[in-house]
Structures are given as C-alpha cells and as structure tokens.
Amino acid sequence: MTDATLDFRASAPLTMGVELELQLIDRRTGDLTRGASDLIALVSKKPFPGEVKPEITESMLEISTSVQSAYDPLRAELLAMRDKLVAGADRLDLEVAGGGSHPFQRWQDRQIYDRPRFRHVAGLYGYLAKQFTVFGQHVHVGCENGTQAMCLLHRLAPYVPQFIALAASSPYFQGVDTSYDCARLNSINAFPLSGRAPFLTDWAAFERFFNKLKSLGVVESMKDFYWDIRPKPEYGTVEVRVFDTPLTVDRAAVLAAYVQAICRMLLRQPTPVAEDIYLTYNYNRFQACRFGLEGQLIDGITGETGPVHQQVLRTIDACRPGASELGSTAALDEIERWVRSEGNDARWQRETFQRRHSLAELVLKSADRWRGTADSAADASDTSREPLETP
C-alpha cells in the first residue's frame, strides 16, 4: 500500500470555528428523545447560519459556525443559530439543551442515526457507541501549515485542564451524581484512540505516523482519533475537543475566544515544545474533570502546583494585550467573572438539582437556559452565590 499524503489545507492563522453537540429533549419528561432528522429537515428549509448536522444518535445534533475571526461576530452567529433551532424545535414540540451529558438517559434506549459511518461505529464499539451519548464543544483554530498546527497542539496541552474545568457541565450521568464536574471525558477515555496525541512536532512525521497506523489497519481516517486536541488537515486547523457543551451559546462563544487568545499569545512568543509537559498531563486532566476549577495542577516542567482557577486568572492576565487586539476583552472579562463568582455550569447544575430535587426538572431548566429565557428571579438567586475562593 502506498502512503497517501495527508494534505494540510492552509488557513488564516487565528481564525476560528465552533462545533456544538446538542441534546434533543422531550418537553414532558426531560428525557432525550428522537427527532434529529425531523428538526434538521425543518430548519434546513430556510437559510441556516452555519451548518446543522446529524450526530450518532437520533437524540443528538451538531451545529457548526462558519469561519470567524473575532468574538463578537462568532457570538452573533451562534445566537442566530440558537434562535433558528429553538424556533424549529418549538414547532416540533422538542426542547434543545446544552450540557456535556444527559443526567439520566439510559443508553439502552438510544437509537443509532441511520448513516453508514454511524452504523460502522456502532458495530465496532458495541455498547460504547451508545454510551457515547455525550455532548462536546469543539473549537477549531486556523493554522498556516501542518507543522505549525502540530506545534500549537502540543503547546496548548498545558491549558487543557483549564478548558475542561471552565466548560465542565456533566456532573450527572446515568441518573447519579458522578462527583466529577466533567464525567463526559470518562466516557471518551474508554475508546482506544482517546487521550493525548503522540509527541510529533512536524507534519511530515505526523503523516508517517498516520500512514503506519492506517497500513496496520488501526485507523481509516483522521475521524478515528478521539484525541483531546487533534489536527484537522482538511480544515487547516487544530481542534480542541475537551470542552463539554456549555448550557448557553454565550459561554460557547466565550470559550472559543479564550482559546483564540491563548493561541495568539503562543504564536507570538514561540517557546520550544518539550515532551515533559505530558508527564503530568493525565494527572492534571483528572484533577480538572473531578474537581473542576478547584482541581490542583502540577506543572510537568517547573514542578509548580496550584489550583485551576489560579492558572486561569494568570492566563487571562497574560492574554489581555493580545485579546484587546482580537476584540475579545469582553470574553476574558466573562471568564474572570466565572472564576471569581459564578463558577462553571456543573456548579449551576448541582445547585439547581439541590433546589428542585429532580433530574428531569434540571434538564428542563437547562433547556430554558439554552433558550436564553431562564426566569430572571432564578438568575438573580444564581448570582447571589458566594464567590469561589480566589487568591
């Protein structure tokens, strides 16, 4: 078998795009329900900003933005998509919701979406494919070439715990409080090609690696890698995949702008990449999944330790100059607000459950939040919460 070249399509650096996997919810029970194909058919009748696609089961769908270069237009596009989707869902008596996991769905009840690739995945992974009913946000950042993408990928790795903790919105899974802020990544860890990408820093090396695995029959395409961060040669991007889908599109836009600001900082001050960052990678990743912003991180190179929220605040300070040029100061302010007072979505979910004692109710409240119509009284009580301890 001759080695195929894996062409990396050049794209404008620091452009970005967002993909969100969403839940389709039954209005009465709060359970996941089938309806992706009907909703997609309905919203596709009229021009839809960005794109809407089916996902592996009939109760999931994926929306993706067009290529954007700044926070404000990205947020505007996400809001427009959200509104179109909600209007369509209303006509079909469905609710759409964010969140990294559905709190109580039973994976046995899921039906695999009828497309060859999904049937293939279901046949290969068995029950894992249905248990894979988890919902993530993917952020793409444009790169000039494959080597730049591979370097950026490894230099983003130390920020992965921050990303996980900020976006975490999957505390409940299969009807129980998992005690994790982000239980979703535990589901993904079960797949053989998940976790971190191998330490390859130029594109030719990565191509050789890919072709080797392909000739061994381990993978067929880039889609078979479920890595936390992976290159996406056909888009010309690096794709960060560790985010849980947030409960609102506003948060999704903020997270994308945060990644963009960090990438800008990394590209402006090139420091050599060292494999030692991965010494503590899995440990830090676990801390972020389990304890969210309170997770304790260890720097693999300096040995320094500290909580995730401290790292976030430091990163925000370091990014600020570049962020003002990118037009995403507001996004950084927003992240600072989460860290200092509001917390992540997992915290909102736990507090809402404690108030209502019903996971179904939690899901329906999350759907209200996704709509952007959550009642203001509840919001007021949300913001009156005690702030997280910050240094």
């Binding site: 209005r27 009465r28 329900t33 089938r34 009907d38 209303d90 079909l92 039906q111 179904a360």
Partner: protein, 404 residues
C-alpha cells in the same frame, strides 16, 4: 356426619371473578400475539376477550351460568377512564399554540372524515340524522389503541406525538358534535328550540369544570405525597375514579371530563411534578383489561351488522384522514411521507366509539339502533386494521424501538 362446613353446590363466586379469569387469558394471549405473530399485544387481548365472550354466550344458551355483563361493563368503563386520563396528560395540547398549523390539520382531517362518511351514509340511504351521528363518531381515533401501540413499541418522534395529539383532539370533536346532534334530534322530535344549546352547554362546561377540579385535587395531593411512584399511581386511580363517577352521576361526558382532566393536570403542573411520574404500569393494566373486556361484551348481533356500509365507511375514512394529514404535513413542519404515516396512525377505532354510541342509545333508543349496527361493524374492522396500520406507520417512520 356434619358436612355443613363444605360449600354449597355449585359454589357461589362473586361476578367480578370473571374479570380476573379473563385477565389471565388475556395476559397469555397478548404474549402469544407478540411472540408468534409479531403484532401488538392488544390483538391478543381482543382475541382472548372474543373467545371468553363466545364461551360465556354458549354457557348462557345452555343455561349454565349467565355472563355478569354489568360487572364486565363497569370494569371496562373504569379501564377506559384510566386510559383517557393517561392520554390527556401524555398529549401536549400546548403544542398547538406553538404550531397553530397542527390545529388546522386536526380540524381538516376531522371535518373531511365527517363530510366523507356523511356523504357515503346518505348515498347508502341512511336518514340525515343517523348519517351525521355515524360521521361524527367516526371522526374519532381510538385513544386506547393509540396509547397501547405507542407504549408497547416505545415509539418516540413526530409521527408518534402527532398521532397522540390528533387522537385526543378528534375524540373531543366527536363528543361535542355527537352531543350537539343528539340535542338537535330532540329539537326535531319535540319542535322546541330552546334546549338545543342548553344540553351541549351543560355537558361541555360541566365536564371541563369537573376536569379542572379533578386536576387541581390531583396536583394538590401528588404535590403533598411526593415522588413515591406507587402512591402517585394510587392517587391517579382515585382521582380518575372520582371524576368518572361524578361525570356519570352528573350526566356529563366521562370521555371529555377525563381527557380534559389529564390535559389540565399537565397544564396546571407548574412544579413539573409530572415529569417524574409514569403511569405506564397502571395504564398498561387498564389497557389489557379494556381490550379483553370490550371484546368479551361485544354484542353478538354486531356480526350480522351492516358490513357493506361499514366497509364503505372504512374506505372513505382512510382516504380522508391520510389525505388531510398528508397534504398539510409540510405546513406543520414535517415531510409529506411522515404526514401520510401519521394519517395511517389515525385509523384505529375501538370500543370508545361504541361507548359514544351507547350514550346515543340511552338518550334516543331509535337513533341508537340505526347507528350502532354500522359503527359496531366498522369498529370490528378498524380495530384490527387500524392497529396494524399504526404499527406499520411507527416502524416505517423509524420511531419504534428496534425489536429484540
């Protein structure tokens, strides 16, 4: 030797035991239908009921033991009450606010069915009033069949939800219209107009008022007792019983009262208590009994009914329902194909239609006799055919859970 401790011969059982014996047969027959014929269980329940009814009829002919028809009838009415309440709380009436075209589709399919059946009956030389009554009642889809089949197949999706909604709506139209027609019949015979609107007004306003009251009581008690499932089911059965008995006692429409009670429960449920409530168990038991009993008590003379008229009614009803829901499908936000499948889902008729005819027979025996022969025969056809088309529609739309 004193043998007085022994029972009298033959021993005396309470009549209700017949229901229990029938339930045993039905449970087994339902499983047989699902396992060997791969059809919905309700067809097995019906078969068990039919055999039981025939056997009872023979025993009665041989003067061995009369079938306790009153007990059976009462059990069946109560089972129907549970089913109607369950449908009412299952259906999303608020949906028509968010998608008004659905109400249009509902009105059109019912109006067309009415017009089509009325025209056919007139062509077959039925008088205008019986024709209109038959047409009004055949607007309705069987709530029992639709609930039983969607539950059994664990169906989820647009065809399922729309079938449930349109069924609840056309059942309501049928009650209201048949009441109006009965009132009109009284006006015709007595020539006084003043009570034309009085009876329907009493029936509709009274039933809705009773339903709202029942719903408030239900939510009050359920909100207090919390989330224990068995207690929730008990409260549900108690409220259904009270609303049903009150509707009968006050000469209201039990069908309308219970359907509306379920709907109000969902509408008034601001705390979303219902989100975690599942009446599936109670409803499943009620459905089994309902189908078995409805076949057991069916009047044997229905077999000599107006088969030609029933066949004509069936054909025109199929064309109207499938056509109307299909044509309006794109306006309501789904594909033509799913619209046509929803139309097929609306075909089942069942004993709930017969219960409407019974109301007619009580109030106007002559009119009752004219309409019931056609309707009974139609129910016999459409109960089986409609169940199968609904099953096929759910399978074809991919909304049924994959069979094991």
């Amino acid at each position: 030797m004193d043998l007085s401790f022994l029972p009298d011969w033959p021993p005396v059982w309470p009549a209700a035991v017949a229901v229990a014996v029938l339930a045993l047969f039905a449970a087994a027959a339902g499983e047989a239908a699902a396992r060997w014929l791969r059809v919905p269980r309700l067809l097995g329940y019906l078969a068990a009921g039919a055999v039981f009814g025939t056997a009872g009829y023979l025993l009665e002919l041989l003067q061995v033991e009369p079938l306790p028809t009153r007990t059976l009838q009462f059990s069946m009415d109560f089972a129907a009450a549970v089913i109607l309440f369950d449908l009412g709380q299952r259906v999303s009436f608020g949906w028509i606010r968010r998608n008004p075209a659905l109400l249009g589709a509902s009105v059109l399919e019912s109006a067309l069915s009415f017009a089509g059946v009325f025209a056919v009956m007139r062509m077959l030389d039925f008088a205008p009033l019986p024709s209109a009554l038959i047409a009004a009642i055949s607007m309705s889809t069987s709530p029992a069949v639709v609930l039983a089949v969607t539950r059994e197949m664990r169906a989820q999706g647009q065809v399922t939800e729309r079938t449930l909604l349109l069924t609840a709506l056309n059942s309501i139209y049928a009650v209201v219209l048949s009441t109006l027609l009965l009132a009109w019949a009284r006006v015709e015979t007595r020539g006084v107009l003043d009570d034309f609107l009085l009876h329907p007004a009493w029936l509709i306003a009274g039933s809705l008022g009773l339903a709202a009251l029942g719903a408030r009581v239900f939510l009050l008690v359920v909100g207090f007792v919390g989330r224990d499932r068995s207690v929730q089911i008990l409260v549900m059965l108690a409220v259904v019983w009270i609303v049903f008995a009150s509707a009968v006692a006050l000469r209201l429409s039990p069908l309308l009262a219970l359907l509306a009670c379920g709907g109000f429960v969902r509408t008034f449920d601001r705390e979303r208590l219902l989100a975690t409530t599942d009446f599936g168990l109670a409803s499943g038991v009620a459905l089994t009994l309902f189908f078995a009993l409805s076949a057991a008590v069916v009047d044997g003379s229905a077999l000599f009914g107006a088969w030609m008229a029933a066949l004509a009614l069936t054909l025109v009803r199929v064309a109207c329902k499938v056509g109307a829901v299909g044509v309006l499908a794109p306006l309501t936000g789904i594909s033509l194909r799913k619209g046509l499948l929803t139309g097929l889902g609306l075909l089942p008729m069942s004993a709930t239609a017969i219960m409407l005819t019974q109301q007619v027979s009580q109030l106007n025996p002559q009119l009752g006799a004219q309409t019931s022969s056609v309707l009974l025969a139609s129910v016999l056809i459409l109960q089986v055919v409609g169940t199968l088309t609904l099953m096929l529609a759910l399978r074809a739309s991919g909304e049924a859970r994959a069979e094991r």
